[in-house]
């Protein structure tokens, strides 16, 4: 699946997008975050406070409990500050 990062999540990860191939046991958004944190120290730091990070699957907001099966695109970002 394609992953996109925005705002300070993007800055901390060090890239705007990448392809992710999580192992099959990674079933939810929250589990994907936990898996990303195991990759290296950069991801561990970027997702350290996972509870504040928001996620979207295929351009729609989801909670961390949401299953990722079938999604083509996932995005991680801080709480929004538009308007």
């Amino acid at each position: 699946m394609k992953a996109f990062y925005f705002a300070w999540v993007r800055e901390r990860v060090g890239r705007a997008e990448e392809d992710l191939s999580p192992p099959p046991e990674v079933a939810t958004v929250g589990e994907l975050i936990a898996w990303l944190k195991t990759r290296d120290e950069t991801y561990a730091a970027a997702f350290e406070n996972a509870a504040v990070i928001r996620a979207a699957l295929d351009k729609a907001h989801v909670r961390h409990e949401a299953p990722i099966a079938g999604a083509r695109e996932i995005a991680f970002f801080p709480p929004m500050t538009g308007g």
């Binding site: 907001h61 801080p78 308007g83």
Partner: protein, 152 residues
């Protein structure tokens, strides 16, 4: 009624957008327009950089607009949100709601702004007047509370 939704880096003209809504109409009784501008924070800020999630910004604002249309009988609705570098005094966001009566237009415009603040995928980064890059603007609890009150 199909709302007009635009995500753009270019400036916009609220008066022109309102005129497009009102042109040739005899049924509209109230037009409420909200414009959000970039503040300079007492001279501390030289610009805001607005990052957005292309594609989702349009989709999420369309979802919020659908919720507004389900709640109030709006006759016209325009939402414009800019991205990119925005200078103090420049306009960032525009919501114009038209209805037969002012109550519906006022309520819909306020609902839309409260929801855009917390759901539209935009993030503001500060550029300081001293030339340094400032922080990402933090989401405010009062914005969450403002959106939450519409659920009651």
């Amino acid at each position: 009624m199909t709302p007009t939704i635009r995500i753009q880096s270019a400036p916009f003209d609220p008066a022109h957008e309102a005129a497009l809504i009102e042109e040739g109409r005899r049924d509209i009784g109230a037009v409420v327009s909200f414009t959000g501008l970039c503040r300079d924070e007492d001279g501390a800020l030289s610009a805001l950089e607005l990052e957005h999630y292309p594609g989702m910004a349009e989709a999420e604002i369309a979802r919020v607009a659908e919720e507004a249309l389900a709640r109030w009988p709006l006759q016209a609705l325009t939402i414009i949100h800019r991205h990119g570098r925005i200078l103090p005094g420049e306009k960032i966001v525009l919501v114009i709601a038209a209805a037969r009566h002012r109550g519906e237009a006022f309520a819909a415009a306020e609902f839309l702004m409260d929801y855009l603040k917390t759901r539209a995928p935009f993030w503001k980064k500060e550029h300081r007047a001293d030339g340094s890059v400032g922080d990402w603007v933090e989401a405010k609890a009062k914005d969450d509370a403002a959106a939450e009150r519409w659920r009651k």
